[in-house]
């Protein structure tokens, strides 16, 4: 079993996990559940990006994209959570 097959299997498994998180984002009772699922999707997408870089042998480019994606995902999560903080109608 070479590393290519392992990487392809990991990408497929991570895409399945992202699909599961989309179920939580679709039916989450509160808006914070949806935000939590989106955060988990973001961290899984970082790992998918780095593995895709190793698969296509362009890992120097994909690692930079993964760094900027992780920073932007964190800042977006904090900003949306601060925007929603203190609202009473949280079942949107």
């Amino acid at each position: 079993m070479t590393f290519e097959n392992l990487f392809i299997a990991l990408v497929i498994g991570l895409v399945v996990l992202v699909m599961l998180m989309l179920i939580r984002v679709y039916k989450g009772p509160t808006v914070y559940d949806r935000l939590n699922g989106l955060g988990v999707i973001g961290t899984d997408a970082i790992l998918v990006l780095v593995i895709l870089g190793f698969l296509s042998r362009r890992e120097d480019m994909y690692v930079d994209i993964a760094i900027s994606y992780s920073i932007l995902g964190f800042i977006g999560l904090v900003v949306i959570a601060k925007y929603l903080e203190g609202r009473e109608d949280s079942d949107a």
């Binding site: 991570l14 509160t30 988990v40 899984d44 593995i51 690692v63 601060k82």
Partner: protein, 100 residues
């Protein structure tokens, strides 16, 4: 060395899958946050460490370790901000008396 990389990658995928199942199946918002705050951070960090071990010492592996350290700091911070926002806007914690 390659066996170590495979072990890190498989352990990381295991913890990521446990985090996803926890976020999907646990009964309350705060318990779901518990799953995504700790298990997901550990899984992603282990997977990135396995990829850095597979790459060897280079600029790419240093950047991958940088991503792992940033996620190790940022993911629990985001979870904490989310929990505080939900608590201030009145999301009730799950108790056993109210049933499932």
């Amino acid at each position: 060395m390659k066996i170590l990389a495979v072990l890190f990658l498989l352990a990381g995928f295991f913890f990521t899958a446990v985090a996803a199942i926890g976020v999907l199946r646990l009964p309350d918002f705060y318990t779901r946050l518990h799953a995504s705050g700790k298990a997901d951070t550990l899984g992603i960090s282990l997977s990135l460490l396995g990829l850095a071990v597979y790459e060897g010492f280079s600029l790419v592996s240093v950047k991958i370790i940088l991503i792992a350290v940033f996620i190790f700091l940022a993911n629990p911070t985001g979870t904490h901000v989310l929990a505080k926002a939900a608590y201030r806007s009145g999301v009730k914690p799950w108790t056993k008396k109210e049933g499932t």
